[in-house]
């Protein structure tokens, strides 16, 4: 690789893995913003909740059915995590829809402003985090794991097999979202509603279903992102989702808020930037890198790198 010869490729690889987790969260966040005009501050906590629901399934439910294990093939985690992944996605998807019916729909019906909706989501975020701490305590947890060898690639690139798993899952899901938005009736209706909500109404699009699907997809992707984050970080903490908000918002804003494809690119840029920055600065400043990107984009190109003037 001739470009940036001073950048360690291993950090770029880590950045892509981290970026694919950001992407799963950011796509949901940007879809919700595009369609509901809600900057969902609880999105990170939807991720954390998803990670903990999977933990409950792996640690509490499945062992009772005699399903246990870690160290599946090259991975540190076991088969139970693969079962927990879709189940947690369903739980969080339904939870996100339920929260909309309970809170956001009522606020919309009263004509709540974007700021009010955002404040409400902040409340939801705090409530979810409190709930997680109440149920699972504030201590560090982790999915049952066995240590595994990392893959050694040329040029001193080391990739943990778990990271490869995370990236592959992310690619499959992003492709799925692309297919849904491009080819299905509900996906096109979501894009139409995001483009022009009042025209969508008079066109006869059932915006209620569009809202449900948006929360369902956003919630499911958030849950999976949360589980994958817990896998690559090898731990769960109640604060994990909240701390993830800055990279999430940085990716969404970089890609142009409301644009799912932009969010994907934005997530990879933010992920790689954060990881590569550790070559020169203390890793604890990684969130500051994401924050700097976000502020820089807002100052220079408020509609994102792909945003046009429309």
């Amino acid at each position: 690789m001739g470009f940036l010869p001073f950048v360690k490729l291993g950090l770029v690889a880590n950045g892509i893995i981290f970026g694919s987790v950001i992407a799963l969260g950011a796509i949901g966040l940007t879809l919700v913003y595009g369609i509901l005009k809600l900057g969902n501050f609880a999105h990170g906590d939807y991720m954390a909740f998803g990670a903990y629901v999977a933990f409950y399934i792996v640690d509490g439910l499945l062992p009772r059915a005699g399903i246990e294990g870690a160290g599946l093939g090259p991975f540190t985690f076991g088969f139970p995590v693969l079962i927990a992944l879709p189940l947690s996605a369903i739980v969080v998807a339904l939870g996100a829809i339920a929260l909309d019916l309970l809170i956001y729909r009522r606020l919309r019906q009263r004509g709540a402003s974007t700021a009010i909706l955002m404040m409400a989501s902040l409340g939801v975020a705090i409530a979810i985090r409190g709930l997680v701490q109440l149920i699972w305590s504030g201590d560090t947890q982790h999915y049952p794991r066995e240590s595994r060898q990392v893959y050694h690639l040329p040029m001193d690139v080391r990739i943990p097999p778990d990271g490869l798993f995370v990236a592959i899952v992310a690619v499959i899901l992003v492709a799925g979202v692309y297919m849904l938005l491009t080819y299905t009736k509900i996906g096109k209706a979501m894009r139409a509603t995001s483009d022009n909500p009042s025209l969508a109404l008079v066109t006869g699009i059932n915006t209620k279903h569009v809202v449900w699907w948006t929360w369902g997809i956003g919630g499911a992707l958030a849950a999976i992102a949360g589980v994958l984050l817990a896998v690559v970080q090898a731990q769960l903490l109640p604060i994990m989702g909240w701390k993830f908000l800055i990279p999430l918002f940085a990716a969404v804003i970089l890609g142009g808020i409301g644009n799912p494809y932009g969010a994907l690119i934005g997530a990879l840029v933010v992920g790689v930037s954060m990881e590569v920055s550790t070559q020169w600065i203390n890793p604890s400043y990684k969130p500051a890198v994401a924050f700097a990107i976000m502020i820089g984009v807002l100052l220079a190109r408020p509609h994102g790198i792909f945003g046009d003037s429309q």
Binding site: K185, K188, D195, T203, G204, Q310
Partner: protein
Amino acid sequence: MALLEASNVVAGYGETEILHGVSISVNKGEIVTIIGPNGCGKSTLMKAIVGLVRVRTGAVRFRGVDISRLEPEQTVRSGLCYVPQSDNIFPSMTTRENLEMGAFVRRDDFRHRIDEMFELFPDLKRSARMKAGRLSGGQRQMLAIARALMLDPVLLLLDEPSAGLAPGLIHTVFERIRGINETGVSLLLVEQNARESLRMSDRGYVLSGGDNQIEDSGPALLNNPEVGRLYLGG
């Protein structure tokens, strides 16, 4: 019985009342134009009819059924389609996808209807795969009308279809509107371009200050000296 009958409609936004009891009707097969100064409530009347603005008192009957309490998406299903004055396309979607969205409530195979729209508006066929946001002003207006026609509406509401178009295009748009009417679709128009619009209209209404002022046949309104002086620019 009139196809559409709005009687004593009172409507507005928030605290502000814009329409103070407007009554209009459209009979089957007619083109009806509403003219009037800016801010007289023409667009609000359109929005009240389709359900985007709540009707406070009064009634809107379409084919004999009161639709004044229906949500816009239900109004559409009853065969009444509406083209807003601006922001009337989905800019990030292709021309074809815009037409597909127009057919959202259709359960049948509507591909033949898309082909019919391409025949009616050949420009749209050439730009079928183009993002609608990149279309020219005239093409956008055609697409907006075609989108509303996807449901084979009985009545089409057009809010200022000629707004912002070059003079040459305005004529084309009016010609297309007349063509649509000839296929059996009734039309209710709001127009700034009052002369050309009234010329092809069966009837017209003059709205002012949120109230009905005058109702007459299109040609009669054109020849009415008071209307000419006040609303048609002399």
